[in-house]
């Protein structure tokens, strides 16, 4: 075996546990023992094991029950069932439930060595799958934006295309959907990538401050202007200016910005001589600007000037298939930052994350994971770790078609069955072939 692995022996007989311990210590593996299924699950919450040898006959929780729980919570852990009383039925059941092998004890020394070779091979395959998953995740990421859902993939396709021109772009989406990340990605992919990216939250600034921040001022322009100051429109010098919450900007400021966009010149406050500026403008808003125009709060001419291309960022509840991917990413991030070894989410907890409505979108998910990781006492995040999330009944914003409802329900059932098509087909009362056709028709993808 090329790589030393971590092994747990689960057997109620001390003599067997000790015999295994001595044996595997001689092979140089890291080995621990548990006297019951409950002990084993407790250990698994805190330590990761590559391989479990599980005795079938144990008081409390038998080996088959433990196998089921291990395969559910820690699918990458290889389980070998051991027993003193062999029966074909239990062997078949164990193998069906995902056991890698089934051994009758005592076994011949060469048998154990063959099993370990098989385990090494299986572990190598698992490592390769992990590597491929990692690669897939990189494909699902675009400049730190994470998502494999169709709307996000469309945005990923759009970014390199729109990045090449100087066209103004309006990024629309609810708060916490990652509008600034998309703006940064456009900048990073653009010919202006080597120049500054300046982001301003227009909504957080009073008009006068925003004006001086954008245009700069000369000494003595107003009380407190003790020295000349360049505005962001100058500082950005060939780069990208990102104005977030553009819907909050006053009509006067809209006029000023419109003029700058058309003339590519600014005049500092308290000065008369115009300065040429070169920047690309990206704006973002969570508001419905067309409604704002209709209600007279936003200028139509400015709207058309900033909205040459519109990118609509979906809310997280509209791309729930991305929740597991995002959750894994944030768990990795915060486990690393907090040096806590949290690397699993229980099935129930993941179901909660996928059914929650996420009004605060990705930012809320990130905060929830950070909080859960910080407070978690085990390496598995459980449903209880997210007790602060109070799922609200999801009400559709507008009436939906039967087709949309069907797609959503099929996806829900598939997720609930962990994409076991046979089980899902049984619940939906359709045959497997029909379900496969529906999956294809609706473009459903396994998370």
């Amino acid at each position: 075996m090329n790589k030393k692995i971590s092994i747990m022996i689960v057997d109620d007989e001390m003599i067997v546990r000790e015999s295994f311990l001595h044996w595997f210590k001689k092979l140089g593996h890291k080995v621990e023992a548990a006297a019951s299924g409950f002990d084993a699950l407790k250990k698994l919450e805190n330590v990761s094991f590559d391989l479990l040898f599980v005795d079938i006959k144990m008081p409390g929780m038998n080996g088959i029950e433990l196998l089921g729980k291990v395969k559910e919570g820690y699918p990458d852990t290889i389980v070998i069932i051991i027993t003193a009383y062999g029966s074909i039925d239990t062997a078949v059941e164990a193998m069906k439930m995902g056991a890698a092998d089934y051994l009758l004890k005592p076994f011949k020394p060469e048998q154990l060595s063959l099993v370990m070779e098989k385990v090494a091979h299986q572990k190598k395959l698992l490592d390769e799958v992990q590597y491929m998953k990692g690669r897939l995740e990189r494909i699902s990421r675009f400049e730190n934006i994470i998502g494999q859902s169709d709307p996000m993939q469309r945005i990923f396709d759009l970014i390199p295309e729109v990045a090449q021109s100087d066209t103004s772009i309006l990024i629309v989406g609810e708060t916490g959907t990652g509008k600034e990340l998309i703006a940064k990605a456009i900048h990073a992919k653009s010919p202006r990538a080597q120049r500054p990216f300046v982001a301003i939250n227009s909504g957080a600034m009073p008009d006068s401050l925003l004006e001086s921040e954008l245009f700069g001022y000369q000494k003595g322009a107003f009380t407190g202007a003790t020295h000349p100051q360049k505005g962001f429109l100058e500082v950005v010098a060939g780069g990208t200016l990102f104005l977030d919450e553009i819907g909050e900007v006053s009509p006067k400021m809209q006029v000023d910005l419109l003029r700058v966009l058309e003339e590519k010149k600014i005049t500092r406050l308290g000065d008369r001589s115009p300065i040429a500026v070169d920047f690309r403008l990206l704006c973002a808003t969570r508001k419905d600007l067309e409604k704002e125009i209709a209600e007279g709060r936003f200028r139509e001419d400015f709207y058309y000037r900033i909205n040459v291309i519109k990118i609509q960022v979906p809310a997280l509840r509209e791309r729930k298939g991305d929740v597991p991917l995002l959750a894994r990413h944030f768990i990795e991030k915060y486990s690393h930052e907090t040096t806590k070894k949290v690397n699993h989410v229980s099935r129930e907890a993941m179901q909660l994350l996928q059914t929650y409505n996420w009004p605060g979108n990705v930012r809320e998910l990130e905060n929830a994971i950070e909080r859960a990781v910080v407070l978690s006492k085990s390496r598995t995040l459980k449903k209880e770790d997210f007790h602060f999330l109070h799922p609200s009944p999801v009400r559709p914003e507008k009436p939906r078609s039967l087709r949309e409802m069907e797609k959503e329900y099929i996806e829900f059932v598939l997720d609930d069955c962990r994409w076991n098509v046979t089980r899902a087909a049984k619940i939906l009362d359709v045959n497997r072939v029909s379900l496969h056709k529906m999956i294809k028709r609706y473009g459903l993808k396994r998370p």
Binding site: M1, L27, P106
Partner: protein, 189 residues
């Protein structure tokens, strides 16, 4: 020869041919340059016999002989003619605990070839010496080696044992030199 270490004791447990004990002692001296001493035979405790398996429990034997006065010897190799088992395995050629004082070598399965024919005496002696050196490696804390051309490679059966060389690979040899510090000054590999 390493004069700073206490000798390695070779003790027959029950009736064991003297030629085997001498062959093991010669192997330790030849391959490890460690002094050896043949000890008085000891009786095998009856409680180590498992009536169901009709074999001797290696773990119980190790526990029984660990309590012997072994202070005069660095490590002790117990040699038996009977068949040994550990609870998880049908049989073992030998048994030792990592870093322990005493190891066991069973001659029972070394006398015959895989096809049941009797093994020639030189092959039988070579097998016994290899098992003794392998178990002695464990007593000096060596683990099983990935190199199939090393004495510390795990032998699942007689075929593996016959394929294994009677010496340690360079990695295990280096480890042994560290495990037996005074040897580093007088390298024997």
């Amino acid at each position: 020869m390493n004069a700073t270490l206490k000798p390695i004791g070779v003790v027959p447990l029950g009736e064991v041919p003297e030629i085997v004990l001498k062959s093991i002692a010669a192997g330790i001296l030849g391959y490890l340059k460690l002094n050896t001493e043949l000890l008085e035979p000891q009786r095998i405790p009856e409680n180590a016999y498992d009536l169901v398996r009709q074999q001797y429990d290696a773990g119980l034997l190790l526990n029984a002989f660990e309590s012997l006065a072994l202070e005069k010897h660095e490590k002790v190799i117990g040699v038996l003619a009977v068949d040994l088992f550990v609870p998880i395995l049908t049989y073992v050629f030998g048994e030792a605990r990592q870093g322990g004082r005493l190891s066991l070598v069973s001659l029972h399965r070394l006398r015959k070839n895989s096809d049941g024919s009797p093994a020639p005496l030189p092959l039988f002696l070579e097998r016994a010496t290899k098992v003794a050196l392998h178990e002695l490696g464990h007593l000096f804390n060596l683990i099983h080696c990935e190199d199939s051309h090393c004495l510390m490679h795990f032998s699942g059966g007689l075929r593996d044992l016959d394929k294994a060389p009677p010496y340690y690979c360079s990695y295990c040899s280096l480890y042994l030199r560290d495990a037996i510090p005074s040897n580093a000054k007088n390298p024997w590999i």
